[in-house]
């Protein structure tokens, strides 16, 4: 019983010696979601469908043209 306790405690203590994987096989950066999938909040602009890439691209281009006063003013 005592031996079992010692072995268990040793195993528990040695667990702290484990190392985080530091190999260079992959990027350490977490993967990011795609913008066209849409934010999961209440601030999403109207006029496009989250999840539809074409719709998002159209929205961004249309919104970009809002900066063009040669179009806005006419």
């Amino acid at each position: 019983m005592m031996r079992l306790l010692v072995v268990s405690l040793s195993a528990l203590a040695l667990m702290a010696c484990s190392e985080r994987d530091q190999s260079l096989t992959g990027s350490p950066v977490k993967s990011d979601g795609k913008s066209w999938q849409g934010a999961k909040n209440d601030f999403v602009a109207h006029g496009w469908t989250p999840g539809d890439k074409t719709s998002w691209e159209k929205q961004i281009r249309t919104r970009g043209q809002n900066q063009n006063e040669y179009i806005r003013m006419n």
Partner: protein, 208 residues
């Protein structure tokens, strides 16, 4: 879609700092950190004063990405250069490499400890879930995922600062320069890439 880019029209920028304020407000950027700032040259010199709004330019071949020892940077499909603050060690190499002074380091605590790097995200957040509270706290709002463009450009009162799809904003800027009749020869692509100036162009000090 083309890459996301910023262009600042120095002929229009009036140094109002609206872009700086919009950015700080939108992302609740901490005191001492300016993701965007307005730089003025020849301040007070009549006809020669020019201002330009500067932030991370989301370089196609970003030097910050090249020098980062922990490889915390990544580029989105739209060409936006972002970084993972969980990987960043706050070493500051990126700030030495960046020609625009974009990387910022929040100073907090009594001894001004240098925190993890913070910079303009083109309002595209970070690697956390898009639109989440965790993303907001670390990187600010993710306006791109909300179908919007960066707050600084959308708020610019004179539309000096343009942001968005590179092809779209380049067309807007080109149209302006054509309508204006001059401009690109003193500040713009021609200057940046060493193209021969237009034969009719005159330097600003000789303009009547």
């Amino acid at each position: 879609m083309a890459r996301m880019k910023f262009i600042c029209d120095a002929e229009r920028c009036i140094e109002c700092n609206g872009c700086v304020t919009a950015c700080k407000n939108e992302h609740e950027v901490p005191w001492g950190v300016n993701r965007r700032r307005v730089v003025t040259i020849n301040d007070g010199v009549i006809d020669q004063e020019k201002s330009i709004s500067v932030a991370c330019m989301h370089c196609s071949d970003a030097p910050c990405m090249a020098v980062c020892p922990v490889d915390c940077f990544y580029r989105t499909d739209e060409g936006v250069v972002l970084h993972d603050k969980d990987v960043c060690i706050g070493c500051g190499y990126c700030s030495y490499a960046c020609p625009f002074g974009a990387p910022q380091f929040p100073s907090n605590g009594t001894f001004g400890l240098r925190g993890k790097m913070d910079k303009c995200t083109f309002c595209a957040g970070g690697p956390e879930k898009d639109g989440s509270q965790a993303e907001f706290e670390k990187y600010g709002r993710n306006r791109l995922a909300e179908g919007k463009l960066p707050a600084c450009a959308e708020m610019c009162s004179t539309k000096a600062l343009l942001g968005g799809d590179g092809d779209v904003i380049a067309d807007i800027f080109r149209n302006r320069v054509v309508k204006r009749g001059a401009g690109s020869e003193v500040w713009g692509w021609g200057t940046a890439y060493g193209r021969a100036p237009h034969p009719d162009a005159t330097p600003p000090e000789n303009k009547s």
